[in-house]
Amino acid sequence: MPDVIKTADSERLRDGLLMSKGALRMQSVGALAGRSILIAIASSSLIAILFIFYFIIRDALPFFQIEGIREFLTSTRWYPSREEAEFGALAIFFGSALVTLGAVVVAVPMGVLAALCLSDILPFSIRQVVKPVIEMLAAIPSVVYGFFALVVFAPLMQERGGSMLAAGAWIIFAPLAVLATAVLSDLLSSRLDGKARLVSQIVSVALVGGLFLAGLLRMHGFLVGLTIVSGTNALNVSIILGIMALPTIVSVSEDALNAVGRDLREGSYALGATRAETLLRVVVPAARSGIMAAVILGVMRAIGETMVVWMASGNAARIPGPWFNFLEPIRTLTATIAGDMGEADHVTGSARYHVLFVMALCLLMFAFISNLASEIILRRARKRGSV
């Protein structure tokens, strides 16, 4: 009786039901070993996450011992290199938040609309063309976006900032205004019938549309008159980050919209609803949580991006005045880490080195929490969908 039985033999033996006790034991031990190796390898991402947390926290903790946390969270004075260093990161947190907000404003309406369009409006053949475009947008490396923002976009903004902004505003807001007008007039007159309905529709379109038009014209006048002193500012970065977050938002919310299912849509049509009504009242509410998750993922993409903000945000650690002034330079967490790591002396274990790890920890926590949130939302939605 050979002690070691090769795999091929064991197969044959089992086929012939001729397995000795030893062979059986061998096999079960082998299977157990194989399985545990498999699990060990599969846990690599678990281990990776644990290690990342451990090593970031390990290097972040000394900062709290050296400097404490109060100044870090409440002061806006960021002077890490002076003898009496100050580590007020409030403005940097604010900068990250501001560009992320900007990116959301750029990406979410466009992304969700595009997703709706892809899932419900466009024919299949066009969808096949659009999908690769989205994937290409997602595939372009961030340093390329940064290069574009710094070398092409920033000078362009400085030279013809006002008119460019105005044109952008028209492109984005005019269709939205038309859509909002349509939706509002529809809502206002939905209770009425016959002639009254038509009249109310016309009146409401005129009213709401006129209001929007007036608003747009005023905005146009304001924007054209604007001169942009510095092209590397929060707006530049927001737009680029928005475009970078688009693919995520589109693909995740499209998945959510597709998951709503044909029967719900068909039910709605059967009740006499138009396509727009079906979309607005049935499909979007049903896919709400999926879209929410998409937005969260988009936010994560924007807040974690480094190269674009490092190259094109201006890196001024200051809360713009007034706070929503997107035309001023800002500084973000990621850019601070990338830029300051060069000086931070690892050897002496200075506060300046550890503060960057505190920032990384904040980013990490944020990413972790929003990721959990989006998972929980999606999981709940899936459960509800299946019940």
Binding site: S81, A91, S230, G231, G314, G339, E343, H346, V347, T348
Partner: protein, 280 residues
């Protein structure tokens, strides 16, 4: 399907083979690792290329990651030469000695920090006091200096640079730079921001001043080789390379680090726009 797979496999294989073949052409070589300041970077890079051309068996790598990083790398013993645009700090010295490293400074060149503006800016000269006031946020508009009514966009080097620290020491005299100042990662980036922004003002090493920006007279003195050498120009500093101990005579590091003393080395320093020390 099969055809497709094999095509991809062949492509990847070819790429690998290509890189093998290509890299095989270079035999294993003596290495000099340089890390540190972006200001000294151009000198180090030019020296590196010159040296590699003369000694094909030597491979020199240059990282430009900031003076502080250079010091760190030297202290950790992971680079042979640290480029620094400021002198090593006491703390860094202490850390080095603790690790058994003995930093030795070599002054490879002199550099003036030029205050630059866009060429369309009518301002020709400022005093150190005025520059300080601008960076402190006291002077906010070019109007206050006799220029047009445009808000000043001040641009500063990132806090991790020796240029920043020198500027802070020589110009700001311990006053804080106003938080509105933009920070960029390198001398080149400052010049680029200034040449594309009419209202901007920045400071760069003399080697980075070119036709596209205008250097200002400071206290009535133009930043030029002659004024920096004679010490008239107020914002000047030496540029350093640090080694661990004095390099052994005849070693590659020795001949590299003493390049700046040779006529060729001085010519290189001059061509890049810095001032050779021997003139000093």
């Amino acid at each position: 399907m099969f055809k497709f797979k094999s095509t991809i496999a062949t492509t990847i294989g070819l790429m690998l083979i290509l890189s093998f073949a290509w890299s095989g052409a270079f035999a294993e070589s003596y290495r000099i690792i340089i890390d540190g300041s972006t200001t000294v970077g151009p000198i180090a890079k030019a020296f590196a290329e010159y040296y590699m051309a003369k000694h094909p068996d030597v491979s020199v790598t240059v990282s430009e990651s900031g003076s502080g990083n250079g010091a760190k790398s030297l202290i950790n013993g992971v680079c042979d030469i640290a480029d620094m645009s400021r002198f090593m700090k006491n703390k860094e010295f202490a850390a080095a000695v603790e690790k058994g490293i003995m930093p030795v400074a070599h002054v490879v060149a002199m550099d003036g920090i030029a205050i630059i503006v866009h060429p369309s800016n009518p301002i020709k000269s400022l005093t150190v006091q005025q520059v300080r006031d601008i960076y402190m946020g006291k002077i906010k508009n070019w109007k206050e200096l006799g220029g047009p009514n445009v808000e000043i966009v001040m641009i500063s080097r990132d806090t991790n640079s020796g240029t920043y620290e020198t500027f802070e020491k020589l110009v700001m005299s311990k006053k804080k730079i106003h938080e509105k100042s933009e920070y960029v990662g390198s001398n080149g980036a400052i010049r680029q921001r200034v040449q594309s922004t009419k209202a901007a003002m920045g400071y760069v090493g003399l080697g980075f001043v070119d036709r596209s920006v205008k250097a200002l007279e400071i206290d009535g003195v133009m930043p030029e080789a002659s004024t920096i050498v004679s010490g008239v120009y107020p914002i000047a500093r030496p540029l350093f390379m640090f080694t661990n101990g004095y390099p052994k005579l005849g070693s590659h590091i020795f001949s590299f680090i003493t390049l700046y003393l040779t006529p060729k080395g001085q010519e290189i320093v001059e061509e890049i726009g810095f001032i050779p020390v021997t003139r000093y």
